[in-house]
Amino acid sequence: MLKEWAKFKGFSAKNLPKEEPFAPGHRACQGCGEVLALRLALKALGMNVIAISATGCMEIISSPFPYTSWRVPWLHVAFENAAAVASGVEAALRALKRKGRFPRNRRVDVVAFAGDGGTADIGLQALSGALERGHDLVYICLDNEAYMNTGVQRSGCTPYGAMTTTSPPGKKSIGQMTWKKNVPAIAAAHGIPYVATATPAFFLDLMNKVKKAALVEGPAYVHIYSPCPTGWGTKGEDSITLAKLAVETRIFPLYEVIEGKYYITRKITKPKPVEEYLKRQRRFRHLTEEEIRKIQARVDAEYERLLRLAECL
């Protein structure tokens, strides 16, 4: 427990905020898990927010001029610099408050949103800089595991074996040949006070983590798994099921890193086989049993590693 959370009772089904900082009527695909994660995150944050978006699905679906889904102040500059832009906003607020040009006691949470490409690949440097400098901001990675906005190209967060338009399976390839980049661990390595993973399937957990991230003084990083029916070849109505399965198979474990300490927030004692998760998605359809075994072994090993991190501290 951090002292900043002392007054935060936590969200439950009974005390959900009424405000919807992200308005409906946007142009996301049916069953988009990312826009759901975005909406829930903003709901947790409330109206006293300045939001910065990287270029990507959420930016284009929310802001085709003259329409906007943003009921909070929102700035989009470019693809790789959400963390840097947010740094500038945060520094400006600090200066203006100190100089009496912005109400000193008014709490404003600065939050940056970016996809997995904007975070793990092109935006990693800007993110690292912002985390290292200690800005008081929340960075939320909405991870749908590929460049969906440009037509499903692989990113550093695309999982092993997945078919994308730039990691197509073929005679000489099984699809994505590399394992998913562990961005939460990279964020945690900066020694920031708070890192968490979340999925919209466990929406209260997601909202609580985002709120805790905002309450923390200094930088906080939340990595949100966001199902993408269009890019993954899944049914729109399956998004929540998949998000749940990702956790239950231990493919996407839910945890927090509080001041360097790992805490598993949803322990999976009887994991489901990864096959249950993989077989529902067209992007994994080509995988052989051998490849699936390989993925299972990797998931088991990674979860063991996570358990050790959580236990030994």
Partner: protein, 391 residues
């Protein structure tokens, strides 16, 4: 009125930025801009300047942070050179399109390769079309004065465009010159607090940086272009008021001994002082040579420029940048284009000189003026020539 004392130009610029009461600075070190940002860090560290200094991890993040800062309503400054400016390239276009008035000093330096830390205008000429107000300083005093002017104009509600003050790397940035820094009271009189009409504030939410679908993109760009052209009047007015407050007069186009000139050299930046000496010498030798210097590069001061070169027979444009395989250097092509519709226009000859820190001497300028005389009678074979190339 402040005292006139010897100061390194970079230090004086930092002092001027301080006098402008900036709220946020985001900068990344690159030679020869470093002394400006080092001194600003010192001023912040000592508590002499109440500002946030963001020690970003790249120039790309420097300009990105600046945009976030201005959008939140803070007066914001950055400075860079060469590769750093090139790394900012992508974001530079976004600042004026979102009407975010950042002020930046560029200590002009050659672009790689070969890697060179020395002065030319290759870095800024690659950013010609970014839509920022761009001025070029001739000396330290002017550099400082252009900083006050840049904030004043950029943040004017009729303008709201970012501005770059160009100073020649080393040949200006690292020189110690007598510079008069005005009193704080004068600066405060000239530069009102930054109060943008639109900013990021939860009390009044707005969407900044939306998608421009084909139905509105052209209109958005047209609006930007019109507003940018209209900034010209404010730029001139701000120089008029500058004269009232500080006593020094600036115009977009500077002329020297142009009364009866038949040949003129045209240049931007600190080399103009050397060129003036060459003009004096040639005048003594009975040649009717003058000098034109563009202080304002963007928006291009078309009318004032055309007026300045009226009656000339040959205009020798000296470019400090190369546009490989083009019909001239960036300034040369611009000037030719500006004069094309002008009846009785002078012949424009174009020289590329002073690349990557190469000295351009008084003799070089005399040679260029001499060649201009030759071209009075016969057309040059090539659209541009490079000066001082060792055979």
């Amino acid at each position: 009125m402040g005292k006139r004392i010897a100061k390194e130009v970079s230090i004086a610029i930092a002092e001027a930025v301080k006098q402008c009461r900036v709220d946020v600075i985001a900068a990344y070190p690159i030679t020869p801009q470093t002394h400006i940002v080092e001194h600003l860090s010192e001023l912040v560290a000592n508590g002499e300047l109440d500002a946030e200094y963001i020690t970003v991890e790249s120039e790309h993040s420097a300009i990105s942070a600046c945009l976030g800062s201005v959008a939140t309503g803070a007066r914001t400054f950055t400075s860079t050179s060469s590769q750093g400016l090139a790394l900012m390239h992508e974001i530079l276009f976004i600042a004026p399109a979102l009407r975010l008035p950042v002020v930046m000093v560029v200590a002009n330096r050659a672009l790689s390769a070969p890697i060179s830390i020395w002065n030319d205008h290759g870095d800024i000429m690659a950013e010609r079309d970014i839509g920022w107000i761009q001025t070029f300083a001739e000396n330290g005093q002017e550099a400082v004065d252009l900083v006050y002017h840049a904030f004043r104009v950029a943040e004017d509600r009729r303008v709201m465009f970012p501005a770059i003050v160009n100073i020649d790397g080393f040949t200006l940035s690292h020189m110690i010159e007598p510079i008069e820094l005005p009193d704080q009271e004068q600066v405060d009189r000239y530069l009102p607090p930054f109060r943008p009409r639109y900013k990021l504030d939860p009390r009044k939410p707005l969407t900044m940086g939306p998608v421009g679908i084909p139905e509105i993109y052209t209109e958005a760009k047209k609006a930007q272009d019109e507003a940018f052209k209209n900034a010209y009047r404010v730029i001139l007015k701000a120089w008029d008021e500058f004269e009232e407050v500080f006593g020094r007069r600036y115009r977009p186009v500077e002329t020297y001994r142009m009364e009866d000139a038949e040949v003129a050299l045209l240049i931007m930046g600190s080399l103009a002082e050397t060129a003036m000496t060459a003009v004096d010498r040639m005048r003594e030798a009975g040649k009717k040579v003058g000098l034109v210097r563009l202080r304002l590069w963007r928006p291009f001061p078309l009318r004032d420029f055309v007026k300045a070169v009226k009656g000339l027979k040959v205009l020798a444009v000296i470019d400090r940048a190369l546009s490989p395989g083009a019909t001239g250097g960036p300034v040369g092509t611009e000037v030719r284009s500006a004069l094309y519709q002008v009846p009785g226009r002078p012949r424009v000859v174009n020289f590329i000189a002073g690349l990557g820190g190469r000295d351009v001497t008084v003799e070089d300028f005399e040679e260029m003026a001499d060649r201009a005389y030759v071209y009075m009678k016969k057309k040059p074979k090539e659209p541009y020539e490079m000066i001082g190339v060792k055979e």
